[in-house]
């Protein structure tokens, strides 16, 4: 059983779903994703959809975090590799035909469509504010810049990611 998922009564009034700028602090619903063994949470208000794709167009000379472009129902989506963004080595899962299979979380940012490529997508969690802690001070700077805080779950920790910070990819001007 996922902690905090079923026990919590409906608290729809606690947040306003129409508000576009949902920060981690007033939305405690997260789409959980995994990078390696690390559990990460994306504020649910920012997530459009979750999809799996095996067709990606690599963009030569792109920043290394951008692994390519995807076609999501006729929309061209920029795929950002969360692993690379978090400074982890990249491993790709292969499907039966030997193609890369990518699990993507669709996010809109400043009017453009992005897909965060993650290792796996978990469930949607509703967590209580009381388990929320700020980012530990000794966290790697690269991580600390991308996280807004940490939730203490019963058996593990969930790092809440800052979607805007993740998509603020520094452009290589020399390219």
């Amino acid at each position: 059983m996922i902690p905090g998922r079923n026990e919590t009564p409906e608290r729809e009034d606690a947040r306003n779903p129409a508000e576009p700028q949902v920060t981690a602090f007033d939305s405690l619903d997260y789409v959980t994703v995994r990078i390696g063994d690390q559990l990460l949470g994306l504020p649910i208000g920012r997530v459009h959809d979750v999809f799996i794709t095996n067709r990606i167009t690599v963009v030569p000379r792109a920043p290394k975090e951008i692994i390519g472009l995807l076609n999501l129902r006729g929309r061209i989506v920029t795929a950002v590799c969360l692993r690379r963004r978090l400074g982890r080595p990249v491993t790709f899962r292969q499907d039966r035909e030997g193609k890369q299979e990518l699990v993507a979380v669709g996010i809109d940012h400043e009017g453009e469509a992005y897909a965060l490529i993650v290792d796996a997508v978990g469930e949607v969690m509703r967590l209580d504010q009381s388990t929320f802690e700020p980012v530990p001070v000794h966290l790697d700077r690269g991580w600390a810049a991308l996280a807004t805080g940490v939730h203490r779950l019963e058996d593990r920790l969930l790092v809440v990611l800052d979607v805007d910070a993740i998509l603020a990819i520094e452009l290589d001007a020399a390219a």
């Binding site: 167009t57 690599v58 030569p60 000379r61 076609n71 061209i76 920029t78």
Partner: protein, 490 residues
């Protein structure tokens, strides 16, 4: 009301045939929304319906610039789209065949009809795979006057593609102008030939490859609208149309002759009528006149016939004899045509006719205007105008020459051409401002087309004013009046 009109009610907001309104039906906004959106992109929608037979809805959507024909090529394992408009031809290359790729110090080159074409391997540019020079296709691409070849591994077909803009995170990559989704659902990148051409210098050593080695001396901007007229029986003369105020045909009986001059009562003023070159003033009938006017002075040039207005790239041969009222000759529509020097015709009239203030200014000042204009034609055309208005003019064809003139002459006003090398012009202006006397100089930029953006940049470069090159009135007004311009206002 016709059936067609009745059918179009479906496009009206709120129009519904439903008996009752529920949450999802009977609102009457469906086709209204469609029509609004089709209209928004400049399209047309219509409906034809026959009871018992069916309905045809026609939607016409304009083919805008967003749709281009593109050649789909493959390099390495990836497909790319190259806009068809830049593609001149395709050449198959294979080692041992007629067309093969040679190289100079690693720079691949193709011999094409006796010329050398620099070749860029697309896969090397993209870094996707090691290029194979032994077998492939060269997409011969032309950008302006430059040609180069893009080596690809295979060519598929031409497809009409909808250009979608690059993501803001990828827009800085010069190689791509956009991306698109092909019929099979794949996303492909659209190669920007300009970006590739920009990399030619860096990746493939060598000079720019010129197509028929056209004379680079004549800049494209020299296209000028000229008024061509005939003087005497044969002579063709021309004057830039921008200098002409109006064309008239006046009954010769209206000319008034007195003290060796011919005058015409024209728009409540007496203006001099000056025959151009071999033209003889008519004694009766209609006399064609070219009215040149300029602030306070107006002169009617009498010609034998107005021939045409032409838009031509002019290559002027300078006149050997300066004093005959001709700037030079040019080929216009295949005929040698003399370009007249207005300055010659304006001062043919005595001083009293000219505004007195201008005359004194001329005497008082030394060199007071420096004209920096690379086009000889425009220099020659503007100089008479400036001289006729009483300014002393020196000119320079480039910034280095301009600096020398500034060092040796007393210059009050610098007219700078902004069409040729705009960045250079702004840098030149800024450097003038930084000299000791720079603050007293009046710097005026001249351009063919004044845009707000240009105006803003000129303000930043501390130019006093920007005027259109052919706006003679604004130019003379600017010179006459020394109000604070852009710079002080900024």
């Amino acid at each position: 009301m016709s059936d067609a009109q009745v059918s179009r009610f479906i496009f009206h907001p709120g129009f519904s045939t439903a008996d009752s309104i529920t949450a999802i039906s009977g609102r009457g906004v469906g086709m209204d929304v469609v029509k609004v959106n089709v209209d928004a992109i400049g399209g047309l929608i219509d409906i034809v319906s026959k009871p018992g037979q069916g309905t045809t809805i026609t939607i016409k959507i304009p083919l805008t610039l967003a749709i281009v024909a593109a050649l789909i090529v493959v390099a390495g394992e990836q497909r790319f789209a190259i806009p068809q408009i830049v593609v001149r031809e395709l050449v198959r290359v294979k080692s041992g065949a007629d067309h093969r790729i040679e190289d100079i110090n690693g720079a691949p080159i193709l011999r094409l009809r006796g010329r050398l074409l620099p070749v860029i391997a697309l896969s090397a540019l993209m870094g996707t795979a090691e290029p194979s020079f032994d077998d492939g296709f060269i997409v011969v691409t032309q950008i302006g006057e430059r040609q180069f070849g893009i080596l690809v591994d295979g060519v598929f077909h031409t497809e009409e593609i909808v250009v979608k803009p690059m993501s803001s995170k990828l827009r800085h990559i010069p190689l791509f102008s956009g991306n698109t989704i092909l019929g099979d659902g794949a996303v492909v990148l659209i190669v920007d030939p300009n970006g590739v051409a920009g990399l030619v210098g860096g990746t493939a050593a060598g000079e720019a490859f010129h197509v028929d080695a056209p004379s680079t001396a004549a800049p494209v901007l020299d296209k000028t609208t000229m008024l061509v007229f005939r003087t005497g029986a044969e002579g063709l003369r021309a004057v830039p149309l921008s200098l002409v105020t109006r064309l008239e045909e006046v009954d010769a009986a209206l000319f008034e002759h007195g003290s060796g001059r011919t005058l015409l009562h024209y728009r409540n003023r007496l203006i001099p009528v000056v025959p151009v070159a071999e033209t003889r003033l008519r004694q009766e009938g209609l006399q064609p006149l070219v009215i040149i006017s300029d602030a306070d002075m107006t002169v009617a040039l009498a010609v034998d016939a107005i021939v045409d207005i032409v838009d031509e790239v002019l290559d002027i041969e300078m006149a050997a004899i300066q004093d005959r009222g001709i700037v030079g000759s040019a080929m216009i529509r295949g005929r040698a045509t003399d370009i007249i020097d207005l300055a010659h015709y304006l001062p043919m009239n005595e001083r009293g006719w000219r505004p007195s203030g201008v005359g004194s200014a001329e005497r008082a000042a030394g060199a007071d205007i420096l004209l920096v204009e690379p086009s000889r034609f425009l220099r020659d055309m503007l100089t008479p105008v400036l001289k006729a208005s009483g300014h002393h003019v020196v000119f320079a064809s480039d910034f280095a020459a301009a600096r020398q003139e500034l060092a040796s002459e007393a210059i009050a006003v610098v007219l700078i051409d902004l069409d040729g090398n705009i960045d250079g012009a702004f840098a030149f202006a800024a450097s003038l401002r930084d000299t000791a006397a720079g603050d007293r100089l009046r710097l005026i930029g001249m351009t063919t087309l004044v845009t707000p953006d240009l105006h803003m940049r000129a303000g930043q470069a501390r130019l006093d004013e920007v005027i259109a090159k052919f706006d003679r009135r604004a130019l003379l007004g600017e010179l006459a009046d020394r109000r604070p311009g852009l710079r002080e206002a900024a």
